[in-house]
C-alpha cells in the first residue's frame, strides 16, 4: 500500500497581533494510504478545517512535518507547492467557494487554469456533471443552484484532476439524506478506485469504526 499523506506531530497556532493566540492543532499525527477513506470527527471549533488546510499544503504548521506524495510541501517554493496541489490534491470546502461568475461546467473546469495537464479535460468534466446529476444545470451560475447542487459542483471540481488526495470539509453538511448519500457514495467509490480521501465532519452519523476524534485540536482514538 502506498502512502499518500503522512502527518507527524503537527501543531498550528493562529496568532494575530492584539488578540489571543489560538492553538487550533496540537501534536496531531496521522497517515493516509491509497484506498483509504478516513473520517475525522470533531465538534465545531475543534480544528478540523485547519487540519485539512495543513494537510493539503495550504497552511504551514508551526511544528511537525507533513509528507504529501513523498514531499514536504512546506519545503517547496510557493510555485512548486501550487504545482503539487494542482497535481495531487483536491479540496472540497465547507462553503464550496465556487466562482460566482462561472457556469457549472466552467467551475468544474476551473482547475485547468493551473494547467498541469495539457489533455483536454472537457470530456471528464462532462462525465462528472452527468455523474452528479447536474446536466440540466450545466450552464447555470452558482447563484441559481440549490445548496446541494453547489456541493456537488464543488466535489466535481475537486475530482477533475483525479487527485491522489481528496480533502473534504463537511461534504454532506448542507445536504438532505438523499443528496448526502449520493455524495458519500461518490467519495467511497473514489477511495475504492485507489484515491485517498479524508473527510472532516461534526456529523456523528458519518462516523465509522476507524474515525479519528479531534477534540480541542488534539486527536484521540
Amino acid at each position: 500500500m502506498t502512502q499518500v499523506l503522512q502527518i507527524e506531530h503537527i501543531t498550528k497556532r493562529y496568532r494575530r497581533r492584539g488578540r489571543e493566540t489560538v492553538t487550533a492543532l496540537r501534536n496531531v499525527s496521522l497517515s493516509l494510504n491509497r484506498g483509504d477513506l478516513r473520517f475525522v470527527y470533531g465538534p465545531s471549533g475543534s480544528g478540523k478545517s485547519t487540519l485539512l488546510l495543513c494537510a493539503g499544503g495550504l497552511l504551514r504548521p508551526d511544528q511537525g512535518v507533513i509528507t504529501l506524495s513523498d514531499r514536504n510541501p512546506y519545503a517547496l517554493t510557493s510555485e512548486a507547492r501550487s504545482q503539487l496541489r494542482a497535481r495531487h490534491v483536491g479540496f472540497v470546502f465547507q462553503q464550496f467557494h465556487l466562482m460566482p461568475y462561472l457556469s457549472v461546467i466552467d467551475n468544474v473546469l476551473a482547475p485547468t487554469l493551473a494547467s498541469v495537464s495539457t489533455d483536454d479535460q472537457r470530456p471528464r468534466a462532462e462525465e462528472l456533471i452527468e455523474r452528479f446529476g447536474l446536466v440540466p444545470r450545466r450552464n447555470h451560475p452558482p447563484s441559481e443552484l440549490s445548496i446541494g447542487e453547489r456541493q456537488r459542483v464543488a466535489l466535481a471540481r475537486a475530482l477533475l484532476h483525479q487527485p491522489m488526495l481528496l480533502l473534504a470539509d463537511e461534504p454532506t453538511g448542507n445536504l438532505d439524506q438523499d443528496n448526502g448519500k449520493r455524495v458519500m457514495d461518490a467519495l467511497r467509490e473514489y477511495a475504492a478506485a485507489g484515491g485517498a480521501v479524508m473527510i472532516v465532519t461534526h456529523d456523528r452519523e458519518l462516523r465509522d469504526a476507524d474515525a479519528l476524534h479531534l477534540v480541542d485540536g488534539a486527536l484521540t482514538a
Partner: protein, 436 residues
C-alpha cells in the same frame, strides 16, 4: 477554461466596477489627449482666420490700389526725373528740360527694378519754331518710344512683359502724331488728317484735350524721329513716372531709390491730390494691420490661457483617475479574496493570479486609450468649435498619440492594479478560506 475566459466572465459579472474603471481611464486619456488637440486646433484656427482676414484685406487693398491707380493714371504722371545739372528754376518758363541723359537710364530703372516708380516714360523734347501748314509756330517737339516696363511689376504688364495693359500714354507708332490742343486748333488739324512736318508726312492720331499748360503746344511722336531731327541720338531729357501709391508719403525714399540706380539725376514730384488719396489708402491699410494684430494677440492670449488651464487640469485629472482606479482595484481584489484563495488551493500559481488582474487592467487600459483618443479629439474640436470631420481638423490628428496612449493608459491601469493584486496573492490562502 482559460485565463481570458475567466477574465471576460468576471468583467461581465462585475460590469459596473469595470465600466467605472474604464470611464476613469478614458477620462484621464481624454484630458491628456484633448488638451494638446485643443491647443493645436486653436492655433490652426488662428491661422485659418488670419489667412482669411489677410486675404480679404489684401483683396480690399488691391481693389483700392486699382482704384487709385486708375485715378492717378487719369491724373497723369506725377514724378519727373531730370539730369542732375538741369536748371529747375527756368524749367517752367521754358516748358522743357535742356540737359540730356542717355536713353539707357530709363532701361536701367526698368530692369534694375525701381521700387517706388511705375509707368516710366522716356521723353526727348525741345521747344522749336517751325513752318507748318503755312504758319510760323512754336511747338514743343516731344518724342517718346512709349512706356518702359518696370520688369518686376508683372501685375500691370502684358503676358510677355514688354508693355503695360493700361499705359498712361499709349505708344505712338512712327508716322503718326499726337497734338496738343492749342497747336491743333491753330493749324486746324483733326484726328485722321494728313500733314507734313519738317518734310515728313504724318497722320494725326489724336488731339489732346486742353490742359492750360505748355502741354497744349506739345507735338508728340516717336522718339527715333525726334532724336534724328534734334541730332541727339540715344539721348532723352526727361523721364516721366508715376510714383507708387505705397510710397506716396516719402519723396525721400523715391529719391534714394532712383539715385541708387541713377546717381546723377534729380527727382521732382508734382500733383499733391494724388498724394493725399494715397495717404488715405495707406492709413486704411495700417488700420487693417492693427486690427489683425490685435485679433492675433487676443487669440494668442486665449491660447495661453488654455495652455495654463490644461497644464494644471490634465495632471490633476490623471492623478484623480489613478487614485480612483487604485481604489476600484482594491475593491475588486477585496471582492475576490475567496476566489483568489480557491484558485491558489486548486494549484493556480501566484503569477497566473497576478496576471488575471493585470490582464484585466490591460483590457481596461487599451479600451480606455481608444475611447480617450476619440473623446479627446471630440472635446478638443467641440471646445474650439471646429467640425470634427472637417479636413482642417482631421489634419490635426496625430496618430502617434494613439500609440503613446495605448502604452500610457494600460501602464496606468496596470500600475493601479498591481499593488492591490500583489497584496492579495501574498495573503495566506488558508486564512482567506477559513474566514466566513
Amino acid at each position: 477554461m482559460n485565463l481570458w475566459r475567466l477574465i471576460f466572465e468576471e468583467i461581465r459579472y462585475r460590469k459596473i466596477g469595470f465600466l467605472l474603471g474604464l470611464f476613469s481611464v478614458a477620462a484621464a486619456m481624454t484630458a491628456w489627449i484633448g488638451a494638446p488637440v485643443l491647443l493645436r486646433a486653436h492655433d490652426r484656427q488662428t491661422d485659418i482666420i488670419m489667412t482669411q482676414r489677410s486675404r480679404a484685406t489684401q483683396e480690399e487693398m488691391h481693389r483700392m490700389e486699382d482704384d487709385y491707380r486708375l485715378i492717378m493714371r487719369d491724373l497723369g504722371y506725377n514724378v519727373m526725373i531730370l539730369d542732375g545739372d538741369e536748371d529747375l528754376s527756368g524749367l517752367r518758363a521754358r516748358g522743357h528740360p535742356e540737359k540730356t541723359m542717355p536713353y539707357e537710364y530709363v532701361e536701367r530703372l526698368g530692369t534694375e527694378g525701381t521700387e517706388t516708380l511705375n509707368h516710366l516714360l522716356p521723353v526727348l523734347q525741345e521747344r522749336i519754331r517751325v513752318e507748318w501748314e503755312g504758319h510760323d509756330v512754336e511747338i514743343i517737339l516731344s518724342g517718346t518710344p512709349g512706356q518702359i516696363p518696370v520688369t518686376h511689376r508683372q501685375r500691370f504688364l502684358t503676358e510677355d512683359g514688354t508693355a503695360y495693359h493700361n499705359p498712361i500714354m499709349e505708344t505712338i507708332p512712327a508716322g503718326e502724331l499726337v497734338l496738343g490742343h492749342n497747336i491743333a486748333q491753330r493749324l486746324e488739324l483733326n484726328a485722321g488728317n494728313q500733314t507734313v512736318l519738317l518734310g515728313k508726312t504724318f497722320r494725326i492720331r489724336q488731339v489732346n484735350r486742353a490742359e492750360g499748360t505748355t502741354d497744349d503746344i506739345a507735338v508728340w511722336c516717336h522718339i527715333d524721329w525726334v532724336q534724328e531731327q534734334l541730332n541727339k541720338p540715344n539721348r532723352i531729357n526727361l523721364i516721366l513716372a508715376l510714383e507708387c501709391i505705397c510710397e506716396a508719403d516719402a519723396l525721400g525714399r523715391i529719391v534714394a531709390d532712383v539715385n541708387r540706380i541713377l546717381p546723377d539725376v534729380q527727382v521732382m514730384e508734382f500733383s499733391s491730390r494724388v498724394k493725399a488719396r494715397a495717404q488715405a489708402r495707406n492709413r486704411a491699410a495700417a488700420a487693417h494691420r492693427t486690427a489683425m494684430e490685435s485679433e492675433r494677440e487676443h487669440r494668442r492670449q486665449t491660447a495661453e490661457a488654455y495652455r495654463r488651464f490644461t497644464s494644471v487640469m490634465t495632471p490633476l485629472v490623471v492623478l484623480v483617475a489613478a487614485i480612483w482606479m487604485i481604489f476600484l482595484f482594491l475593491n475588486n481584489v477585496r471582492e475576490r479574496t475567496i476566489e483568489i484563495g480557491v484558485l491558489r488551493a486548486i494549484g493556480v500559481g501566484e503569477h497566473t493570479i497576478l496576471s488575471v488582474f493585470l490582464l484585466k487592467s490591460l483590457i481596461m487600459g487599451v479600451i480606455g486609450a481608444m475611447l480617450g483618443f476619440v473623446a479627446g479629439h471630440a472635446v478638443g474640436a467641440w471646445w474650439v468649435e471646429m467640425n470634427l470631420f472637417s479636413r482642417e481638423f482631421i489634419n490635426l490628428v496625430e496618430f502617434r498619440t494613439l500609440w503613446i496612449a495605448l502604452i500610457a493608459a494600460p501602464a496606468l491601469c496596470m500600475l493601479a492594479a498591481w499593488f492591490p493584486a500583489v497584496g492579495a496573492i501574498h495573503r495566506d490562502p488558508a486564512s482567506i478560506l477559513c474566514e466566513e
